[in-house]
Amino acid sequence: MYERWALTALLVWPLVAGLGVMVLPAPRARAAALVASLVEFAISAPLWWTFVPDGGMQFLADYAWIPAWGIRYTVGVDGISLFMVLLTTFLMPLSVLGSWNIPRRQPAFFGLLLILTTGMIGVFVSLDLFLFYVMWEVMLIPMYFIIGVWGGDNRLYAAIKFFIYTMFGSLLMLVAILALYTAAGRATGTYSFAYTHLLSQATQPGPTAWWLFGAFFLAFAIKVPLFPFHTWLPDAHVEAPTAGSVILAGILLKMGTYGFLRFALPLFPGVALHETVQFAIVALSLVGIIYGGLVAMVQPDFKKLIAYSSVSHLGFVMLGIWALTLQSVQGALLVMINHGISTGALFFLVGMIYERRHSRMIDAYGGIARVVPLFAAILTVVSLSSIGLPGTNGFVGEFLVLLGAFRHYPVATAIATTGVIIAAAYLLWALQRIIFNPLTDPENERLTDLTPRELLVLVPLLACIVWIGVYPKPFLRRMEPAARALIEQVRPAPLP
């Protein structure tokens, strides 16, 4: 039974709960939102146990939606999307808890947060391209408001930039989806947006495939973000409220890489594995890794630093995806999860210190480890996880990506590995300037250490950091068949 309604419940519940939360009075809204997001997590939790690694697409639900145009409501998860769904439901309660004292219009904020959940999960579970597109857009609107209403000083600029950037890509994607739909319809006589239907029709390369791949590529590359489509990210990250940044980094960016895994690669394997495309994407990933790291190093704003570090991390993901070996694809999936956890935790930490001191500038701090030892300790652990210290989650993902990628792209992997050095340089330098060095600003003397509520936000993330770092097998075991299937589908014959 659970198999049949699980995903639908995951989609419907936050939407209903979100609308409900919006009409509640302010003091009760946040508690209700917390309960709602916990319920959502509880609904999703059994996915972890009931998921059968070798079972392909599972928890399928399939109903006609607009039959005249072959649009169906089809949802399901496999080893790739499972973790994205769980990551989403895992981060949501933490985000609610982390923005407990958000100023202004609490009911609307928490309501939007919940509605956003529907959109995000929808993107990850849709197996109908039309539904996918709808969900892609659904997620955009709450995020726009979250940045634009509750953001920092320059929030409108950031929100509009985020919106138009994403919209630009997604409209091209819509055109490509429609083109695929008509092409497949003409070829088979069945007009349907179903993923499996389009997948079976999309293998012929040709000039159209190039254009369609280009459209998908642009939509997803903006979301990833791949250099040079990344400049919305620093602005959006910096201006968004804490929960917004966490979700942006933790989940929204993964939609891009997920899109590549689920759509761009399997639908256009011929184009995606064409020499020029391979070269370009691997090169862009490398540029992202190095460039993101170097630019992160010189940021005066800690949130911006994390934003650019995301560019760097997602570069690893892209490299892993395009290397298409079992290790690299699974590594890429793990990096996606890890980045959600570690960068999410970093944003939470910045948000917590920002609430106390109202500054994101690295220069405003210094030496606060003496004043707020707990905060400093957790910030250190999370930073180390972000730079991939072995024993933390960051290492497992990056190691697998590099290991897998080395097989096909040894030189590129060697270059990517320098990202490890740069990561240490930028994060430790920032860490030093925030929690170490002399304490010069008397305002920092009065900082208070983390409250129990804040600890409650961070402890689950820390637990995941250690868990994935030490015992990632439960994750790897669940994603392996899906990764293997993807590789076999895209790359029928292994490269020499």
Binding site: K161, I164, Y165, F227, P228, H230, T231, W232, Y291, L294, V295, M297, V298, Q299, L326, Q327, Q330, G331, G367, A369, R370, P373, L374, A377, L384, L389, P390, G391, F395, V396, F399, L400, L402, L403, G404, F406, T413, A414, T417, T418, V420, I421, A424, A425, L428, W429, Q432, I435, F436, N437, P438, L439, V470, Y471, P472, K473, L476, R477, E480, R484
Partner: protein
């Protein structure tokens, strides 16, 4: 599972980890509970040492050449990659286990006295325990990845401990520098791992070393690349040219840390790695030569810098770099010299830990003296010391033992180990002449070692006291909690040579034989054993060099002529170059660090990101769209007449289509 005590080897790292967790919790919530911290911090280490001893005895009792493997859980099972979290007990790792836990226990004990007054006492022990945990993972790891966990983990602890007094920017800088420089080395290690995996299909030591001879062409590009990359990792961790610059700065940490991490254990990890991968290095003669050559060169280079340092700990830091150079010379030479390298690693752990802890005692006393009078003088500058043997006789005596040991004066531990390395290099030189050069460099470095160590002792403990009139009354021997461990280390430094007393001196070269199962596969090519006559000549030369260094320093240097640091004139000429460490830090800074930061900030961020991508690209597109929009608003001027005219034009256009 062997049914012996060796099965419980996991207890050793686990104890250290438990110590970290408990002390870490205390550091955050009960930083004042110093007694509990001491008991836990030292207790777990002593416990780990007991486990190490029992493991060693059990393993020796098995009399096996095969390593014991303990798989605990599957770590990264992905396709061909099957990585387990597994520990390995063999001859090499048991030796390392004993050194780490043994010396570690003594240094922990010393720390109880040394750090007693520090507000970060609990944090300090938490870090120290964590370090031991990672170090044990490093030496016990059964595959490259687990070793790498320890490898980076000790780097992390080193980072945390160097920057222990983080409120000083210098300290925090030094810690960060150590970590980043180490990461450069780790980059090499990582790449080497990737290459090893795709060449042999595994990362387990057993599988890799078993398949290496078949998987690689001896002397081929692949194996040479792998070993050179591994060695890059070693140069980072073990502070060799070109990545040694972090170690002198690492002296910003508490002195026991310098003793434990930056002298006895962590920095020797590179030596351990090369010894561990002896099979691979044996397949790559070029890499072996690079290792040996770099080692010899580093030994000499660091020794020259040590000649002119005034900070007592910096002298020891450069001395450490220099001695590590010897160890690399040994492991690069391969074969029997591997054992010599490990031998020197062990003796060096004893005498260098003793030297550091002794200097710690000195600094402790100096600091107390200056603290009592609120003097701002530098407690580590040798120009402010002098004549200290009258105030701290025990420390002086013990440090003299260590000095004689490191200088290679006969019958102290260092004499045997250093002599063996030089002899092995010479022996290899009979086949490959370049090793004769390495041998000669090593010899010169030995001379300098004897010289600068004698200089250190002379300026610190002899001659008139320069501390200051008032401060002098406060100078005294450190408490027994600190002198006790020194005593133990003193004994070990004196008689440590017994571990591997060569046949030449009537010993049975125990360590050599013990390590044979590990080193025998690393034999490069048959090197004819030296005749006894040659060996005696070599010993004679080495002794002569050592004595020359000690006596020369004693005769040439006049501690009476020194003035306290604040009155000292600036050095001139070549002395100044040495004083400034050949300006290597400045050169790195000007050639690498600054250009990268400048490139990142001025070019990448401000030009490319903000101007080009965001300015011209994104906001440019926005501006273009707005310009089009402005054109559009021109039409929407509210004049209905214009609208009508346009409407008519539209109709006409549609009609045009209708006409066809």
């Amino acid at each position: 599972m062997t049914g012996t005590a060796a099965d419980f080897v996991w207890l050793a790292p686990l104890l250290a980890l438990a110590g970290f967790v408990l002390n870490g919790a205390l550091a955050l919530w009960r930083p004042a509970a110093k007694t509990a911290v001491s008991v836990i911090g030292v207790g777990v280490l002593v416990g780990a040492f007991v486990v190490a001893v029992l493991t060693f005895r059990a393993f020796a009792g098995l009399e096996t050449d095969v390593p014991l493997l303990f798989r605990y859980w599957s770590w990264m099972p992905v396709g061909e990659l099957q990585l387990d979290v597994a520990l390995q007990v063999d001859q090499l790792s048991t030796v390392m286990l004993l050194v780490v836990t043994g010396v570690g226990s003594l240094i922990h004990l010393f720390s109880v006295g040394y750090m007693r007054e520090d507000p970060g006492y609990a944090r300090y022990f938490a870090y120290l325990n964590l370090f031991v945990f990672f170090m044990l993972v490093l030496v016990l790891g059964a595959n490259f990845a687990v070793l790498f966990v320890g490898w980076e983990g000790v780097g992390l602890c080193s980072y945390l401990l160097i920057g222990f007094w983080f409120t000083e920017t210098v300290n925090a800088d030094a810690g960060r520098k150590a970590f980043v420089v180490n990461r450069i080395g780790d980059f090499g290690f990582l790449l080497a791992m990737l290459m090893i995996f795709w060449a042999t299909g595994s990362l387990d030591f057993g599988a890799v070393f078993g398949q290496a001879p078949a998987a690689f062409d001896a002397g081929g590009a692949a194996i040479t690349g792998i070993t050179l990359l591994l060695f890059l990792g070693c140069t980072g961790k073990s502070a060799q040219i070109p990545l040694y610059t972090w170690l002198p700065d690492a002296m910003q940490g508490p002195t026991p840390v310098s003793a434990l991490i930056h002298a006895a254990t962590m920095v020797t990890a590179g030596v351990y790695l090369v010894a561990r991968c002896g099979v691979l290095f044996a397949l790559a003669p070029l890499s072996s030569a690079v290792v040996a050559g770099t080692g010899a060169l580093t030994a000499l280079f660091a020794a020259t810098i040590a000649l002119k340092q005034w900070d007592i700990k910096r002298v020891l830091a450069y001395s450490t770099i220099s001695q590590l150079g010897y160890m690399f010379l040994a492991v690069g030479t391969g074969g029997a010299a591997m054992a010599a390298g490990i031998f020197h690693l062990a003796t060096h752990a004893f005498f260098k830990a003793l030297l550091f802890l002794g200097s710690g005692s000195v600094i402790f006393a100096m600091h107390r003296a200056y603290h009592a009078t609120h003097s701002p003088e530098d407690a580590q500058d040798m120009r402010n010391m002098g004549g200290l043997r009258r105030f701290m006789p025990w420390t002086a005596m013990l440090m003299w033992i260590a000095t004689l040991a490191i200088a290679g004066v006969p019958f102290f531990s260092g004499f045997f180990s250093k002599d063996e390395i030089l002899a092995a290099a010479f022996a290899r030189g009979t086949v490959h002449p370049q090793w004769l050069v390495f041998w000669a460099i090593g010899l010169v470095a030995a001379l300098l070692t004897a010289f600068y160590m004698t200089r250190l002792m002379l300026y610190t403990f002899h001659g008139p006291n320069r501390t200051g009139e008032r401060e002098r009354q406060h100078l005294a021997e450190a408490p027994w909690m600190m002198t006790g461990p020194l005593l133990v280390l003193g004994v070990l430094s004196a008689v440590g040579g017994l571990l591997n007393l060569p046949a030449l001196w009537g010993g049975n070269a125990w360590l050599h034989h013990w390590l044979e199962p590990v080193t025998e596969s690393a034999v490069v090519d048959a090197v004819p054993p030296l005749s006894h006559g040659t060996e005696w000549v070599l010993v004679g030369i080495a002794v002569a060099v050592a004595v020359l260094g000690v006596v020369g320093a004693w005769r040439l240097l006049k501690p009476a002529g020194l003035v306290p640091a604040r009155e000292a004139p600036a050095e001139r000429g070549f002395q100044r170059v040495l004083r400034n460490k050949w300006y290597v830090d400045e050169i790195y800074d000007a050639l690498i660090v600054r250009p990268i930061v400048w490139l990142s900030r001025e070019v990448l961020w401000k030009r490319v990101d903000q101007r080009l991508v965001d300015g011209a690209g994104v906001n440019g597109a926005a501006r273009a769209a707005r310009a089009w929009g402005a054109l559009g608003t021109r039409l929407q001027n509210g004049q209905v007449g214009v609208y009508v005219a346009l409407f008519v034009v539209g109709v006409l256009l549609v009609l045009w289509r209708a006409i066809g």
